[in-house]
Symmetry: C2
Subunit: 156 residues, 2 copies
Amino acid sequence: MTAAAVNLKIGDLARRAYCPAETIRYYEREGLLPEPARTNGNYRLYGAEHVERLSFIRNCRSLDMTLDEIRKLLLLRDAPDDNCEEVNVLLDGHIGHVAERIAELRHLRTDLQLLRERCGKAGTTKDCGILGGLSANVARKLKTPRRGHVPGTHRR
Amino acid sequence: MTAAAVNLKIGDLARRAYCPAETIRYYEREGLLPEPARTNGNYRLYGAEHVERLSFIRNCRSLDMTLDEIRKLLLLRDAPDDNCEEVNVLLDGHIGHVAERIAELRHLRTDLQLLRERCGKAGTTKDCGILGGLSANVARKLKTPRRGHVPGTHRR
DNA sequence: CTTGACCTTGAAGTGGCTGCAGGGTTTTTA
DNA sequence: TAAAAACCCTGCAGCCACTTCAAGGTCAAG
């Protein structure tokens, strides 16, 4: 165990929960984190319970859950005597989404690789089999939209 | 082959390229589609070349490319004497992105399934192994952000 | 000549942040 | 003790790829 965490400023909380300070303020606006105490100088003050709650949120996000799903889980968590059947249902639903998305992407990768092999020896884009392939009126559609943005990462 | 496509209104183009009319206007604003001719009543008028170009765009989108990637491909396509090496590079890069994302999601699914098995027989959320598992300070991160939104679909 | 299907523009909303401007506070260093 | 650096504050704009809405204009069928 680490030392008891009290009177953390937002940057301290950020480091402990691996979450940018801007995102902490955003979660507060969104109602996922309670409004914390403030210092005389109007700085936010956090304690161990905030580290725990924010870690919970970040773990859920790293499991690709939406903020709405996380909001529901937090409510269930805050009502400790409820039946945890709902937790199971929510998680099973989420596992289903992930499995679907994997299937789609695998299909996608196959299509891309087939397309990639169409590049002949022509040398110019005019005769490029790839560009030709992309013009075909195929219009197969993906079933699951990608959402939002995953924490802490950018396209390199 | 279908009959020659001329003097299509935006709804006709929409049906032929499986793309909502609003999205067509959006692509025009974004410079992916050229500004079309207009009728006396100010309706957009399209021809076969627009059906082809929009189908190209939609196929690329269904392969999960960004509008920026598609813009580059369209430029290459519009310069028919260039070397198609750049097309290959772009496509290989994209295949790489997709492969990475699949690997992440598979890892993710494993984590979710392990978590799911933690639900003991306690019956109440207070003792729920899942909620407990989500509180652990794990903070493994996904490497690739999900972007935007896939054409024509919603979460059910 | 009215109904209804279609089209127009412009602006705002979505999710989950991220970044910035323009300040205030606190800590460190000289 | 004073200056510099590091941190914090609010509020707002921007990102992507659309989607939705409001408020109107156009056109063909009955």
